[in-house]
């Protein structure tokens, strides 16, 4: 396995790809979700993957971190192909990742600081006081103070999301995966999370992949945006390029238009509404 650099970050040059996905397929029974995904995420950059609900964005993210095994294709993480990795090597690889879940996924039977320090407690022999101190420091980094002794259920959605981020960065990963980080938050809190994601990149120099369908968020945080449609990446570009894309599907999606190629042949009840009006 590749040596991790002295600063804890394994990639040295920003041109090196951190994650490379080649022709990845994944099916669930008859349902062919990923149909040959190709994507490259460079070291230290933030890649937003956009796409409609049910297009397989989360499945892609779960394949990258190994929560799901892809059927075909190759995924390289920091130069290492992960398809045939043994369990022992997985654990080493997982230490490079931090993941922020859609439903924050905090462990609800333990306190906030224990949540943040969970990985440290399991993988290091640090005493509890030290773990707590690290947890408090990470919580400060995401803008939370004096919450360490509370239980997850006592916090608001936005706060929980930030705790989830603090937990993801507690082990100082080089890659952070965000699964719809702003979904279900009010616009102000969504922007707080957006700013945090930008700050994480600047402060910790992490590579990030953000799954989202919140276009405001994608423009705000991403260096590159990739659009997933029917199991394939149909366009990759900078936020500017995506905004001015000539691809019909991309245009319909980013402008949220009801009529267009994505919704062709679909009936969202307009028919019913118009007949009702008559």
């Amino acid at each position: 396995m590749e040596e991790i650099g002295p600063d804890g970050k394994s990639c040295r040059s920003h041109d090196e790809p951190m994650i490379v996905i080649r022709e990845v397929h994944k099916s669930f029974g008859q349902n062919h979700v990923l149909r040959g995904v190709n994507l490259e995420v460079k070291c230290g950059e933030t890649m937003a993957v956009i796409g409609g609900s049910g297009t397989g964005k989360s499945v892609l993210l779960k394949c990258i971190i190994g929560l799901l095994r892809h059927d075909r294709g190759e995924i390289y993480v920091d130069g290492q192909e992960i398809s045939h990795l043994k369990e022992k090597n997985w654990n080493a690889l997982l230490s490079k990742f931090g993941m922020v879940f859609q439903r924050d996924a905090l462990f609800d039977s333990i306190t906030i600081w224990e949540n943040v320090g969970f990985g440290l407690r399991q993988h290091t022999r640090l005493p509890d006081e030290e773990i707590k101190a690290i947890a408090i420091e990470k919580l400060k980094l995401v803008g939370l103070e004096n919450v360490e002794d509370r239980m997850p259920a006592e916090l608001s959605g936005g706060m929980r999301k930030r705790v989830s981020l603090a937990r993801a960065i507690a082990m100082e990963p080089s890659i952070i995966l965000y699964d719809e980080p702003t979904t279900g938050l009010d616009p102000i809190m969504a922007n707080v999370i957006n700013d945090l994601m930008v700050r994480m990149r600047e402060k910790l120099e992490v590579t990030s992949i953000v799954i989202t369908h919140d276009m405001e968020s994608a423009y705000h945080i991403a260096d590159h945006i990739a659009m997933l449609y029917q199991g394939e990446i149909i366009e990759v570009g900078t936020p500017g390029q995506i905004k001015s894309s000539s691809h019909e599907i991309v245009r319909q999606f980013i402008h949220g238009e009801v009529e267009g190629p994505i919704t062709k042949g679909a009936d969202f009840g307009q028919e019913h509404l118009t007949s009702h009006r008559r």
Binding site: I65, L67, L94, M99, A105, F118, G119, Q122
Partner: protein, 256 residues
């Protein structure tokens, strides 16, 4: 006609599929028991939950079963003047059969369901995925402590049930039915072997493994939100109770 075969085939396949997965979970659990790190704190927490908090339930069940057993066998034995053997029947039935089986059923209702509900909720709220991303094996962290706790605690609970059951039978016989206490104890001692107790405790160990494996399996494989958690919990209780009864028959037959 083919429709019927389809349905039968579907259920057989599903049964085999599920049995296989349960078996895989069981084998993985056993494998991870012997792999460090050993999380004693977590195991003790489960022992407290599975064991200590089940004691009252098991004591009440055991006592009343022993008592009713004394009443019923007295009714029968009186008809051919064998009242003196009530103590023997109570002791043998409690240790060989009712102690482990009733403890197993009570624990599967109390603990198996709780395991399925807790792990099921963790599954649907992505907490189990979160464990994985923190490089913590969910089987090692969640299933092993519950499995070990059940395995340790079930024989102890059964022993409690045996003791209070025999005691309950004694009290009913001596106080209510006027049996001679010396003869009652004598008959109990004379015909009860340690082997009877061991078979009961052995059964209890097996039941403990069944309850934890099924409860955790249902929890980890929960799909579909709150409804899924409810289904998993019900399945855990029904399946583990049935398996306790089925396994009980085969263990009994084995040592017959």
């Amino acid at each position: 006609m083919f429709g019927l075969f389809d349905i039968i085939g579907f259920w057989i396949m599903r049964f085999l599929d599920e049995s296989g997965r349960v078996m895989i979970l069981f084998l993985k659990t056993v494998h991870f028991i012997f792999r460090p790190p050993f999380d004693l704190r977590n195991i003790l927490k489960q022992v407290e939950y599975v064991g200590i908090k089940s004691v009252p339930v098991v004591l009440i069940t055991g006592a009343f079963t022993g008592m009713v057993l004394a009443l019923q066998s007295y009714t029968g034995f009186k008809r051919f003047n064998a009242e003196a053997f009530v103590g023997t029947v109570v002791a043998l039935s409690m240790t060989r059969e009712l102690g482990p089986v009733l403890s197993g059923l009570m624990v599967s209702g109390r603990v198996g369901s709780a395991m399925a509900a807790e792990l099921g909720t963790m599954q649907v709220t992505e907490q189990i995925d979160a464990l994985y991303t923190l490089a913590i094996n969910p089987i090692k962290y969640l299933v092993v402590p519950r499995f070990l706790a059940s395995l340790i605690v079930m024989p102890i609970l059964t022993a409690f049930a045996d003791v209070v059951g025999i005691l309950g039978g004694y009290l009913i016989s001596v106080i209510l039915l006027g049996s001679n206490p010396t003869i009652y104890i004598r008959r109990t001692y004379d015909y009860l072997d340690l082997e009877d107790v061991y078979i009961g405790l052995f059964k209890a160990c097996i039941f403990g493994m069944i309850i934890a494996t099924i409860g955790c399996y249902q929890g980890i494989n929960t799909r579909g939100g709150a409804e899924g958690v409810g289904k998993g919990t019900t399945n855990a209780v029904v399946i583990s109770s049935l398996l306790v009864l089925v396994a009980n028959y085969f263990i009994t037959a084995l040592f017959f």
